[in-house]
Amino acid sequence: MVFNSLDFVVFIIPVFLLYWLVFNRSKVYQNIFLLGASLFFYTWADWRFLALLIGSTLINYYLGLKIFRTPEDRKKSIFLYIGLVFNVGLLLYFKYFNFFYEGFYEILNAFGSESTYNSLVILLPLGISFFTFQTLGYLIDVYNEEIEPSENLLEFSVFVTFFPKILSGPIERASSLIPQIQEKRVISYEVSVDGLRQILWGLFAKIVVAENCALIANPIFNNYENESGSTLLLGTFFYAIQLYADFSGYSNMAIGVSKLFGIQLMRNFSTPFFSTNISDFWRKWHMSLTTWMMDYVFTPLSFTLRRHQKKGLIISIITTFVLVGFWHGANWTFVVYGLLHGIYFVPLVFSGKMNTSEIVAKGKMLPSVKEIIKMILLFVLIMLTDVFFRVESVSVGFEYLQGIFSLSIIDLPSVLFTSTTLITIALVGFFMLIEWINREKKHDFEIGNYNIYLRWISYISIFVLILIFGKSAETFIYFQF
């Protein structure tokens, strides 16, 4: 059940009303109801792994308490390691088994063995990458005495399964989510309306911007061998926007839906394309994953390698980003994606300019020329890595890039002057403009301080844009006869 479906509307309206009108007597009622709704939501999406989700919740709940209650350090760490092995093991088995299995045989074959292998059919449980990271972080935090474990199984279960974030994040932290579950939620008009705004904007990003960009990017990627360099470049441009609009739109909807239930999830995107260097970009892109990786991978790793100075830092950064890439899927393309981003950091380490997480042109209308140049350069660098996010194999990725950097890069792209492309460019422009205006705000469409007419005009206009330019599945229906 994706957020932009009628199914979800039918689900969310009664759940919202029951939550605030019937199950609002105490936090226990609220939590029982949220857990029920979340399990229903997960079951609806894919019932086959409900047992896995419940099992993982119980085991992590138990391990959290065990780690906390064990006095001796060594035994504590044994329980932590059990937890790490369990959670990472789940992920490795369900998501990466075939990747390593095939890799193993390919290495054997490289040494002259002639064994054959059959990939196993392993279904990927929905949301596994998200909820295992969340419980992993929980156990590590408990071990490090950053938080106390949740004593209450009900509250812990809501923390793991809360439906707005179970399928695709944000990857929440126990330290920010559990305390909210431990309190009774009270409805706030302002927060709810703000959530609705965020949903509307997410919907626009997803079904207008992302889907329209996809309409242009897909045919270019599918037929990349025959396209000119400039067309390929245009394809990566639209794909980069699509990727961003798709995921940030999804995140905004998740965060907005959660607000309707009085729970604040963490921000996941913070206008990342308005960044002037790669470190700045990653502070604003998929923030829940990046901060997770920073805390649980980069920090321990760079701490261990701290004697090696800059070399240690570079190794830590590159390892972290390779893992960031690999987290997205069991394919070498994601490894290359992460590796490229890791390499982009190297100059920053040497120049010592890691810390420019300033909002671009803060308090001003327009950025300086220097900032514009930096933002465009960075965007192009990122856009090129996104090719590896899109293609199915590394070799295709490099062929695609090779295609871009050919003589035909100076041709006019074949699809540029079609009405579809021009309309999409206008939509992307509008999207980016609103993002720019709201870049200092708490989310991309925080317009609560505008006057009432302007607000309503915005809502209605966005609805009209969604109605008209929203995705329609079967455009070529008459070709069916």
């Binding site: 809502y459 929203g470 070709f479 006869f481």
Partner: protein, 310 residues
């Protein structure tokens, strides 16, 4: 909470108002079928798939058949092969659209071999039909303006972007006017090839269903109570006729049998000896010009036949 719900309602009312406006004003442009389900019940009808949806123009029939004193206007209730193959489901929907008071209507059933094809995985006798979850079979109301039921159940069919381009218009009489016609012979060839692939796919996945054939008989008998029924096989390119024959060898024979047993006319425009090429945009869909010409010729046939009977 109250304030929130009130404002939300206000917002949704605004959205609904805008949507209604678009549907009422541009309903024929933003969806291929929408207008079929907003119009009142019909006294006379064209039944068929996309060939007749685009190729048989009710306005021409209304003009030409005046002299025969049929109850008019005629309404084109054809959709496409995906939605309206002959069968109990389509029959039921025709029943909903038909004005039961009609006594002297004219009913034109455009038949193609594919309209008798059922998915090999479906058991028609168990009530499994490939068209079941498509409009109009997933709807209750087919004569409602504006038709929100159609909108919500078939949202994915809509293409609101077309509001500006108006490449196609579904007219109130049920005729789909397609304006995006290939001027370049290359485009025509490409479109025709695409249709060929669709035929191949159907040949692989479909088989002729005796239940559907039987439904045709039921349909004719029902419609005869409300007026005169004519069957027609619309003209297509001869190479496509060959493809169709490979799918359903005895098609013409079976159609003639049904027609004779019900004492109605079957006009076959694909007999190789008398075959003329009408203007199509992909080898089997008449474009608006070819359709105009064909509808006139069809009317000639109907008038001739009506006069001989008298």
């Amino acid at each position: 909470m109250k304030r929130l719900l009130l404002k939300l309602c206000l917002f949704f009312i605004c959205c609904l108002a805008i949507t209604t406006f678009v549907l009422v004003e541009y309903g024929g442009n933003v969806d291929y079928f929408y207008q079929k389900f907003t119009t009142p019940k019909a006294v006379s009808m064209v039944i068929g798939d996309s060939r007749s949806m685009q190729g048989i123009q009710p306005r021409v029939i209304n003009e030409r058949l005046k002299e025969l004193k049929y109850e008019l206007p005629i309404f084109n209730y054809s959709l496409t092969i995906a939605e309206t193959p002959i069968g109990p489901l389509y029959n039921k929907s025709i029943g909903k659209k038909l004005d039961e008071t009609s006594e002297n209507g004219v009913f034109i059933i455009s038949v193609t071999p594919w309209m008798f094809g059922s998915d090999k995985n479906n058991d028609n006798n168990k009530g499994e039909f490939r068209e079941a979850d498509r409009p109009p079979h997933n709807m209750r109301f087919v004569n409602m303006n504006p038709n929100y039921e159609y909108l919500f159940k078939n949202l994915t069919y809509f293409h609101f972007k077309a509001l500006f381009r108006k490449t196609s218009t579904m007219h109130k009489d049920g005729w789909l006017e397609e304006n995006n016609l290939p001027t370049n012979p290359k485009v025509f060839d490409e479109w025709k090839k695409r249709q060929g692939r669709l035929f191949d796919k159907m040949i692989r996945n479909y088989e002729v269903s005796s239940l559907r054939l039987n439904s045709l008989d039921v349909l004719i008998k029902k419609l005869k109570k409300h007026g005169n029924v004519y069957m027609v096989r619309m003209p297509i390119d001869l190479d496509f006729v060959a493809v169709e024959n490979s799918f359903y060898k005895n098609f013409d024979k079976d159609m003639s049998t049904v027609a004779t047993s019900n004492q109605i006319e079957y006009f076959n425009f694909n007999v190789s000896s008398t075959h003329t090429n009408f203007k199509t945009y992909d080898g089997h869909h008449l474009d608006k010009h070819g359709g105009l010409e064909f509808t006139n010729i069809l009317c000639d046939s109907i008038i001739r036949s009506a006069n001989t009977v008298k």
